[in-house]
């Protein structure tokens, strides 16, 4: 195994050397970094040319200059890295270290949501193959697949920022929107659950009425202007989470798991007011990790109380439930922050921005306001990235699950009388996740360098902006710095994916066989 990894690392190193050489020369021969200065009529243009030539060693021909650059990079191994200077004489490494966290913040949420949603919908479409829902989702995912992101982004800015902001300023839903949204959700759920024609109509009617009633109630009471969940709704949602997670994780017949999840729901409601009090103190950020740890500790203790045998799955179930309930508490707190955030001078009833990564006018200090501010700034770019990458996961997980469901071991599992839940969740889903997990790793690495257009449209200053700037001003060192990072991530993600594959699937041994 170690021999395999080291051999792969060696190949990785050689590949990076080769491709950086190609890119360096490609970029260097195709443009003159001094071009604009040569045409410039400024008096000190000549001095600038001399200074730049000296700093960037432009008098050395590109293939040789590559090795000068490489010497600086290889310095990393002896603790003396030198990524060179940008044209404005700043160290490249500093620029990258500033830009990288911003890009990561931009792509992380989008990727995670795309994965969760995409896999869920992909699996539902595979289980309902050739249903109307399947056809509709196939069409939608192809449509999203064909969308240019810059085009979507402009639409999002118009409809989800400018017009949605206008709605949030005066939050009452017009009747046609009420009907439209209710019909949409009715159709959605009826298509997913499906069944006989009578059942489909029943589901549609039920969802339509429930949705219509809920939305008009929220609209009339002005909930959108001052949203919150409150302990009662939180309790109801937590009980729902407890049932849902137990059903998926161990099956509802496992009474111990159900009881411990329900106990955690009760705990969430009981702890609601103390948590509010702790949030309001707004003292030290240290208290939040402590709260998370306490929450999970309680989950473990409670599940140990309720179970005698086979404790692993029960602990897992209540941990997952606790995590989701914790998220609900956080959402509730963010909702309570919404009103003060809206009314602050920096926002003034236009909460969803079309551009930028933070609102500079927000005073730092309040953790929740800052968090909400960061989240609303992430909203549009995340949605744009999400729409584009979501489709791929739907198609991929659908295809993989269908292939798995055709395997012999699924037939065996059904034949020996396991419940459909066990067959799907334990036999099929786990085997579907193996190829998906490897795809996720590769995707995540490639998206770091791939958010160039999104960053540009939404005015984020991350890796994509650096890259753009490097190309436009012939900044070779900066370009190579960006490339080195994205290239390294891409190649090592492939390695990690291979290792992960062999770790998840015992049938495959890394490094064995092959040639």
């Amino acid at each position: 195994m170690i021999a395999y990894i080291s051999r792969r690392l060696g190949v990785l190193f050689v590949i990076l050397l080769g491709s950086s050489f190609i890119l360096y020369n490609l970029a260097a021969i195709s443009g003159d970094p001094l071009g604009d200065l040569r045409l410039s009529k400024e008096i000190n243009a000549k001095q600038q040319i001399i200074a730049l030539t000296r700093d960037l060693q432009l008098d050395v021909p590109p293939p040789l200059r590559y090795f000068l650059w490489l010497r600086g990079i290889l310095g990393t191994f002896i603790g003396n890295p030198d990524f060179g200077l940008t044209r404005t004489s700043k160290p490249v490494i500093d620029e990258i270290l500033v830009a990288l966290p911003i890009t990561i913040r931009l792509v992380t949420a989008a990727t995670i949501i795309a994965i969760v949603l995409g896999i869920t919908i992909g699996i539902v479409t595979a289980l309902r193959q050739y249903s109307r829902f399947d056809y509709a989702m196939t069409f939608i995912s192809f449509l999203l697949y064909s969308l240019p992101i810059f085009w979507v982004a402009v639409l999002l800015k118009e409809y989800l920022a400018i017009q949605f902001n206008t709605f949030l300023g005066e939050p009452t839903i017009a009747l046609r929107w009420l009907i439209g949204l209710s019909v949409a959700s009715g159709v959605f759920w009826a298509a997913i659950i499906s069944g006989t024609r009578k059942r489909v109509f029943m589901i549609f009617g039920g969802v339509f009425i429930a949705n219509f009633a809920l939305l008009s109630f929220l609209s009339v009471t002005g909930w959108f202007a001052n949203p919150s969940l409150g302990p009662i709704v939180l309790g109801i949602l937590s009980v729902g989470v407890a049932y849902g997670v137990t059903q998926l994780s161990t099956g509802i017949t496992n009474k111990a798991a159900l009881r411990s999840s329900l106990a955690m729901a009760a705990y969430t409601v009981i702890a609601y007011y103390p948590i509010q009090w702790l949030f309001e103190m707004n003292s030290k950020a240290l208290i939040y990790p402590a709260m998370i740890i306490v929450g999970f500790a309680v989950a473990v203790v409670v599940s140990l109380q309720f179970s005698k045998i086979d404790r692993g799955p029960i602990i897992r179930t209540s941990m997952i439930s606790t995590f989701i309930m914790g998220l609900l508490v956080v959402i509730d707190q963010l909702m309570q922050t919404w009103k003060p955030y809206m009314e602050s001078d920096a926002v003034y009833f236009r909460p969803i921005p079309t551009i930028g990564q933070v609102n500079a006018l927000i005073e730092p200090g309040n953790f929740w306001i800052s968090l909400l501010d960061a989240l609303v700034h992430m909203f549009l770019p995340t949605l744009a990235l999400l729409l584009i990458s979501f489709a791929g996961y739907v198609r991929f997980s659908r295809g993989t699950l269908l292939e798995v469901l055709n395997q012999d071991y699924i037939r065996t599992a059904r034949a020996k009388g396991l419940t459909e839940r066990t067959v799907i969740m334990r036999h099929a889903f786990r085997n579907t996740m193996i190829p998906i997990a490897t795809i996720i790793v590769v995707d995540f690495a490639s998206i770091i360098g791939g958010a160039i257009i999104t960053e540009r449209i939404f005015g984020w200053i991350g890796m994509g902006t650096l890259f753009n700037q490097a190309i436009n001003s012939f900044d070779l060192n900066l370009l190579m710095g960006v490339f080195l990072l994205t290239g390294f991530l891409a190649v090592s993600a492939n390695l990690v994916a291979d290792l992960l594959y062999s770790a998840l699937d015992p049938r495959i041994r890394a490094g064995a066989g092959g040639n």
């Binding site: 190949v11 050689v14 590949i15 990076l16 080769g18 491709s19 190609i22 890119l23 490609l26 970029a27 195709s30 443009g31 050739y130 069409f139 192809f142 449509l143 697949y145 064909s146 969308l147 240019p148 992101i149 810059f150 085009w151 402009v154 800015k157 118009e158 400018i162 490639s446 360098g449 791939g450 160039i452 257009i453 540009r456 890259f467 753009n468 190309i471 436009n472 370009l479 490339f483 994205t486 290239g487 891409a490 190649v491 040639n515």
Partner: protein, 359 residues
Amino acid sequence: MLKRKRDKEVSITSGEQAIMNKETEGLSQSQIVLRRFVRHRAAMTSVFVLTFIVLAVFSALETKIGPVRIPGWWKFRYDELLELRLEGCPEGIVGCPSLDLVPSFIDGTGMGLGRHPFGQDDIGHDYFSMVMRGAQRSLYVTVVIGFLGGTIGIIIGSISGYFRGWIDAALMRFTDFIITIPTIIIGSVVGFHFGNLGVGFLAFYLGLFAWTGLSRLVRGEFLKLRELEFVDAARVAGASNRRIIFKHILPNAIGVIIVSITLLMSGAILLETALSFLGFGVVAPDVSLGSLISQYQDSFTTRPWLFWWPGLLIITIALCINFIGDGLRDAFDPRQRRRLTKKDKVRAKVQARIAAASE
């Protein structure tokens, strides 16, 4: 009783099987594939829509091939400065589209194209001819990338898969080099420096880097197919390497290749538009669908038609290519079985009953 029911079920499924078999009886592989493809409704619709778009787009404007001029059916050139349309537009807005799709019994004006169906840009160019020109460029780039990338990918993939050994190792390491560099980076570097040489150069250089995924796929297919008996048979019969590659293995891998090329092309149109959007692709005075959107993205609130038309065209083209690819994949997949319609099931039941009665 129970046993009888089960017997019946078994004979029904075998009846369905018989329908399946009957359908493909006496047909060659390519006939079966064609038949399956024609039956794929979304793919066939896409074929018609795409054909219509391509014909309309390329015949709309005047084409010059050397000294020969073929006049187009549309009355304006894309770089012709025209008088801005004022009448009939909302207050303060000029050059609005004259396309009217609402029939006369609703608003009384009647349906019609009018002088500028897609409107005009801010200095008076006819937007319909600009969009047609942009679509020409985008389609051209797509086809060149698909063709060039496809050719290189097939050649490199088949050579390394067929010969294996050091040739394979060298070619695959070279492929890895290219894969490491993200497509958009290559595209931007290439587009930035060669974009001003014209769209042909841009497409050519992008095509030179677009073959990596395909070559890996082809290599995998070749590694699998070269071990099969028919290749051995061909070799024993004295066929040369070239003959085995092109006459024996390649036709068997063609399904995977065609599907992959369609995906390459749908990716290519998005890549070209994205590059043009960033300003690294097709540059002024020439236009492409991406550069049109990039140019007019800020005028969305006031003159949305400048934004909608090129975007809708990109989506339609990419969607059609994707659906055709999907249809081809289903058609080439031997495991793919047609979903039985109610009619088929009734027929299968009838056959099973006849079979039961004759026993």
